[in-house]
């Protein structure tokens, strides 16, 4: 199952919930983990990947985001989400089209509350390949539905 989102859609709506609604039924605990991780991965892909923003806590960030969304070179880049559900669990790959030389997802900041830190804690396994800008997250089903 493959989804394509614009950065504008990711930052303006709840795309994580839209993806989850198309997936097989899952227990509440897994749904929580998938929702949080998908949200973080999509925001990382849009802000740090496609829009190439390094610091989202700087002054005037809202205007910076809008300026880059309006920039045809940056704003037109999509984010692809590929989901593969098996009997054992769920694999989700989130791919952005930022420049690998200048855009990396923000690593953990300060107290370890960066997006990747949350994803690490809520997935069975997480890998990021900066060359192809792909974040892969794996979840195991906790309860049979």
């Amino acid at each position: 199952m493959v989804f394509a989102f614009s950065s504008h859609a990711i930052l303006g709506s709840d795309c994580a919930t839209r993806v989850i609604s198309a997936l097989p039924p899952m227990d509440d605990d897994t749904r929580f983990c998938v929702r949080v991780c998908l949200h973080e991965a999509l925001y990382n892909a849009a802000l740090h990947g496609n829009l190439e923003l390094m610091d989202i806590h700087c002054s005037g960030i809202t205007q910076q985001v809008q300026d880059r969304l309006d920039d045809p070179r940056l704003g037109s880049r999509p984010v692809f989400v590929t989901c593969d559900a098996t009997a054992e669990g769920l694999s989700i790959v989130v791919k952005d089209f930022g420049d690998p030389q200048v855009s990396l997802p923000a690593e953990d900041r300060g107290h370890g509350v960066g997006g990747l830190s949350l994803i690490r804690r809520l997935t069975e396994d997480m890998t990021f390949d900066p060359k192809v800008k792909e974040l892969t997250m794996r979840f195991c089903w906790k309860e049979a539905i």
């Binding site: 929580f32 929702r35 925001y43 960030i61 809202t62 300060g110 509350v113």
Partner: protein, 103 residues
């Protein structure tokens, strides 16, 4: 986007968050931080999370900025009434080690 309401009662600044608190709320929240740092005689700050449905790493980062501002102003800070997914995310981020979390 989150709705942010700020009120002052006696010496306490109360910040009420509702909806989804994410990186996209940064500019709105930055105004509150600036106001807090200007100093208005408040000795404590509470953040009411009762009507907050979701918080992401960007929102957590803003709470850390608020914590830094309160420490600078020597103000006590607490996170109040978090529940459901928001409480769980605060637990995962180990915010109980950094904030006074009041149920």
């Amino acid at each position: 986007m989150s709705k942010v309401e700020v009120t002052t009662q006696s010496n306490t600044k109360k910040i009420a968050l509702s909806g989804h608190f994410t990186a996209m709320d940064h500019d709105q929240f930055r105004g509150i931080l600036d106001d807090l740092q200007s100093g208005q005689g408040c000795t404590s700050c509470t953040v009411d999370l009762e009507h907050l449905d979701f918080i992401d790493s960007g929102g957590l980062g803003m709470l850390l900025l608020l914590r830094d501002a309160c420490i600078k102003q020597k103000m006590a800070l607490s996170l109040n009434n978090a529940k459901g997914d928001v409480l769980r995310i605060l637990d995962i981020a180990k915010f109980d080690q950094l904030f006074k979390v009041v149920g």
